[in-house]
C-alpha cells in the first residue's frame, strides 16, 4: 500500500510535469503561495468592507469547491486519461496485471489525491498567509487553525463527491433519489428552521470556534462518506458494450446552419454519450453557482441587491466560459490528424458549439434575475454574463488552444489568464457599482475577444499541437 501510494504520487507528478514541464508545474504551488501572501496584505482593506466571518465563508467555500472539483476529475478521470494517454497505462488500472485488488487501488487513489492536492493547493495557500501574518498582526495560531479547517473543507468536498460518484456508478436511480433528498433536506432545513447552510458547514464552524466535538463531527463528515464510498466501490470494467444507431447523419443535417456541421454533430454526441452534459452542468455549473449565490446573498447586507445580481452575473460568465473545456475534454487533435481539418477550423467549430451552450447561463441568469426580484437589472446582468463569458473564452483559447483542461495547470498560463480576465472583471465590477446600467458597456469586451480569437487562429495554426 505504501509503495503503491509513493508510486501513484510520482505518477501524478510525472503526468502533470510531462504535460507542461517540470519547472512550470513546480512553480504552481509557489504561485499560490505568492498570491496568498500578497492577498493577506489586503485583509485590512477587506475587513473594512466585509466582516471577517464572511471572508472565512468565502475562503472555506473555495476549498470545498476545490475538493469537489478534484473529486469530480476522479469521477471522469478514467475516460479523460484514456483520451489523453492512449495506450499508456496508469497505476489506477493495474489490478488487471498486478496482484492488487481494485478496492485497495481505489483507497490508495483517494489517499494519494488527498495528499497530492493538499500539497499543491492547501499547504501553499496557508503558508502564504502564515508568512504574511507577522506583518498584518495576525497571531500564528490562526494560520495553523486555517490549515486544519481548510484541509477539512477540502476533504469534505472530496469525500462528498467520491461518495456520490460511487453511488452513481452503482445505480443512477439511487443517485438521483439521494441527490433530490439532499437538496430537499437542505432547502427544508433552511425554510422551516432558518438554519443557514453555513451552520452545517462544520470546518467553518470549527474556524469560528474550535471545539473537539466540532472537530470530531467534521472528521466524521469526511470519514463516513469516504468509508461508504470504499464499501460501495465497484469496478468500472464491468460496463456492457452499448450499441447506438447512426446519429451523425441526422444531426449533421439538423445542424446545417453551423459552419462545420459534422464537427458540431460530433461535439454534441461526445457531450451526451460521455455523460458530461448532465454531469458537468450539475457539478461544474449549477453546484458552484448555487454556492456562489449563497455567498453573494450574504453580501447583500452590505451592498445593494442589484449590485449583488450583477456581481453574480459576472461570476456566472466566468464559470460559463469553462464550458469550452466540456467540448475539448474528450477530444484531442490526434483524432483529426488523419483528416483534412486544420486547427483554426476546429477552434471555430468548438466556439460555435460553445455559443450554443451559452443558452444555459443565459437562461439561468434570466431566471435568477426574476427569482431574486432584480428584473430591473435583467438586461445589464444578461449582457454582463455573456460578454464576460465570451471574453474569458477568447483568453482561454488564446492561452490554451484545444487543450484548456490541461494547460490551465501551467503556472504561466494560469497567471496570464488570471491577469487578463481579472483586470477586465475588476473594471466591470467598478462600472456596475457606479451605475448598474453602465454594465451594458461590457458588450465592448466582444472587440478584444474577437481580436484575441483571430490571433489565436494564427498562433495555434503555426505550432505543433501539444501531445499529452
Amino acid at each position: 500500500m505504501v509503495k503503491l501510494f509513493v508510486n501513484m504520487m510520482k505518477e501524478e507528478w510525472r503526468v502533470h510535469s510531462t504535460m507542461f514541464g517540470s519547472l512550470s508545474f513546480a512553480l504552481f504551488p509557489v504561485m499560490i503561495l505568492g498570491i496568498a501572501f500578497m492577498g493577506s496584505f489586503l485583509l485590512p482593506l477587506f475587513r473594512a468592507v466585509v466582516p471577517p466571518g464572511y471572508l472565512a465563508i468565502i475562503i472555506h467555500t473555495i476549498f470545498l469547491l476545490l475538493g469537489i472539483m478534484v473529486g469530480g476529475f476522479g469521477l471522469l478521470g478514467m475516460e479523460v486519461m484514456n483520451r489523453r494517454f492512449g495506450q499508456a497505462s496508469l497505476l489506477s488500472y493495474s489490478a488487471r496485471s498486478l496482484p492488487i485488488s481494485e478496492r485497495e487501488i481505489f483507497c490508495t487513489f483517494v489517499v494519494k489525491d488527498t495528499v497530492y492536492y493538499l500539497i499543491l493547493w492547501v499547504v501553499p495557500f496557508v503558508a502564504g498567509f502564515a508568512i504574511a501574518s507577522p506583518f498584518i498582526s495576525v497571531p500564528l495560531s490562526l494560520p495553523l487553525l486555517l490549515l486544519l479547517t481548510l484541509t477539512l473543507a477540502f476533504l469534505t468536498g472530496l469525500a462528498l463527491i467520491f461518495f456520490l460518484s460511487t453511488v452513481y456508478s452503482r445505480s443512477k436511480q439511487a443517485f438521483a433519489v439521494l441527490f433530490v433528498i439532499m437538496l430537499m433536506g437542505w432547502a427544508g432545513l433552511y425554510l422551516y428552521t432558518g438554519i443557514s447552510t453555513a451552520a452545517l458547514f462544520l470546518p467553518l464552524q470549527l474556524f469560528y470556534a474550535f471545539s473537539y466535538a466540532t472537530f470530531l463531527a467534521a472528521c466524521a463528515v469526511v470519514i463516513i462518506p469516504s468509508a461508504i464510498a470504499v464499501v460501495l466501490f465497484t469496478s468500472e470494467y464491468t460496463d456492457t458494450t452499448k450499441r447506438f444507431k447512426n446519429a451523425i447523419a441526422p444531426l449533421t443535417k439538423k445542424l446545417s446552419f453551423f459552419p462545420y456541421p459534422p464537427l458540431a454533430a460530433k461535439d454534441l454526441i461526445d457531450l451526451f454519450r460521455s455523460g458530461s452534459f448532465i454531469g458537468q452542468t450539475l457539478f461544474s455549473f449549477f453546484i458552484p453557482l448555487g454556492l456562489l449565490w449563497f455567498l453573494l446573498s450574504v453580501l447583500a447586507r452590505f451592498i445593494p441587491p442589484g449590485d449583488v445580481l450583477l456581481l453574480f452575473a459576472i461570476l456566472t460568465g466566468v464559470i460559463a466560459s469553462t464550458m469550452y473545456t466540456w467540448l475539448t475534454m474528450f477530444d484531442t487533435f490526434s483524432s483529426y490528424t488523419c483528416l483534412p481539418v486544420s486547427v483554426p477550423v476546429l477552434l471555430k467549430s468548438k466556439m460555435c458549439s460553445f455559443a450554443v451552450l451559452q443558452v444555459i447561463p443565459a437562461t439561468f441568469i434570466v431566471l435568477v434575475s426574476i427569482a431574486s426580484g432584480g428584473v430591473a437589472y435583467l438586461v445589464p446582468a444578461f449582457v454582463l454574463c455573456l460578454s464576460v463569458s465570451f471574453y474569458a473564452l477568447s483568453v482561454t483559447v488564446w492561452l490554451t488552444g484545444l487543450s484548456p483542461s490541461v494547460l490551465v495547470y501551467d503556472a504561466k498560463v494560469l497567471l496570464l489568464y488570471l491577469v487578463s480576465v481579472g483586470i477586465a472583471l475588476l473594471a466591470l465590477i467598478a462600472l456596475a457599482f457606479v451605475n448598474p446600467y453602465y454594465a451594458i458597456g461590457s458588450v465592448l469586451l466582444f472587440l478584444p475577444a474577437w481580436l484575441l480569437v483571430k490571433a489565436s487562429f494564427t498562433k495555434w495554426d503555426m505550432q505543433d499541437q501539444p501531445v499529452f
Binding site: 475516460e79 484514456n82 483520451r83 492512449g86 495506450q87 460496463d239 458494450t241 452499448k242 450499441r243 447506438f244 444507431k245 447512426n246 446519429a247 451523425i248 447523419a249 449533421t252 456541421p261 459534422p262 464537427l263 454533430a265 460530433k266 454526441i269 461526445d270 454519450r273 460521455s274 474528450f330 477530444d331 484531442t332 490526434s334 483524432s335 490528424t337 488523419c338 483528416l339 483534412p340 481539418v341 486544420s342 503555426m462 505550432q463 505543433d464 499541437q465
Partner: protein, 247 residues
C-alpha cells in the same frame, strides 16, 4: 496524378530536420518516392519513423528542410495534403463516443465522400467487422479499431496512403488480407508509404525501402537489389544498424 507529379515523385523530401528541444528526431533526410511504389521506412523503435510520417502529412512542422507530397508543400498546405492522401497513425485514434458507422459517416462528411455508408458496407464485410458497426469506438478491441482506421484511410480511394505500422494489431488472417489489399492497391498505380520495424513484412511486400536509425538515414534501396545479392533484409538491416550504433 499530373505529369509533373509523376516526374518529380509522389513524395519528395529535401534535408528534413525535426528537433524537439535538444533531441533531433529526424536529421537532414532526403527521400524521393515514385508513383506505384510500396515503400517501407524501416528502423528500430525510436528511430524517427513516426516523426517522419507526421512531417510528411503536415501533423508536425519541420525545423528545417522541405517536403512535397503529391506536389503540395507540406508546410504551406498541410490540410491540402491530408485531403488527398490516406493516413493511418501509429496509435489507432477513432473518437471514443462515435460508433464505427458514425465515425466513417463523419469521415465521409469531412472528406465530402458521396455514398460513404455504401462504401463502408463493403469495408465492414471485407475486414470482417460487420457485427461491430454500431459499437462505440472506445469499446472496440485494438484489432477492430485498426480495421476502422484502415477503412477510413482507404474509403476515399487516395492515390497515396501513409501508414504507420500497418499490421501491428491484426491477427494472421487479417494480416494476409491487408497485405493482399496493399499489394493490389499498388498494382493499380497507387503509392503506399509504410513505416515498420517488422522486417518480414517489408521484405514480403515492399518494393523500395529506407533504413532510419537515430533520426539519420542509413540506406535507401530496393528489395530486388538485395535479392540479386542474395541477401536477406534482416541481415542487411542488422549489420547497418550495428554499424550506425558503433560508428
Amino acid at each position: 496524378m499530373s505529369l509533373m507529379e509523376m516526374k518529380q515523385g509522389v513524395i519528395e523530401a529535401q534535408g528534413l530536420v525535426k528537433q524537439f528541444g535538444d533531441v533531433i528526431a529526424v536529421n537532414n533526410i532526403s527521400l524521393s518516392i515514385r508513383q506505384g511504389e510500396l515503400f517501407g521506412l524501416l528502423g528500430p523503435n525510436g528511430s524517427g519513423k513516426t516523426t517522419m510520417i507526421k512531417l510528411l502529412t503536415g501533423q508536425l512542422r519541420p525545423t528545417a528542410g522541405s517536403a512535397t507530397v503529391l506536389g503540395l508543400d507540406v508546410k504551406k498546405d498541410p490540410v491540402g495534403v491530408r485531403e488527398r492522401v490516406g493516413i493511418i497513425p501509429e496509435q489507432e485514434t477513432p473518437p471514443s463516443f462515435l460508433t464505427a458507422t458514425e465515425y466513417l459517416d463523419f469521415v465521409g462528411e469531412v472528406r465530402h465522400i458521396p455514398d460513404v455508408l455504401k462504401k463502408a458496407d463493403w469495408w465492414f464485410d471485407y475486414l470482417d467487422f460487420n457485427d461491430k458497426r454500431d459499437v462505440l469506438c472506445k469499446d472496440l478491441s485494438r484489432g477492430t479499431r485498426q480495421k476502422l482506421m484502415f477503412t477510413q484511410a482507404f474509403i476515399h480511394k487516395p492515390t497515396l496512403a501513409l501508414i504507420d505500422e500497418p499490421l501491428i494489431n491484426f491477427d494472421p488472417i487479417m494480416q494476409r488480407k491487408v497485405k493482399d489489399y496493399l499489394t493490389e492497391y499498388v498494382r493499380c498505380g497507387n503509392t503506399i508509404f509504410i513505416s515498420t520495424h517488422i522486417l518480414e513484412i517489408a521484405e514480403e511486400i515492399c518494393s523500395g525501402f529506407a533504413i532510419l536509425h537515430k533520426g539519420t538515414l542509413l540506406h535507401t534501396g530496393t528489395v530486388a537489389e538485395l535479392k540479386e545479392r542474395d541477401q536477406h533484409l534482416d541481415d542487411f538491416f542488422l549489420s547497418l544498424v550495428e554499424k550506425g550504433t558503433h560508428g
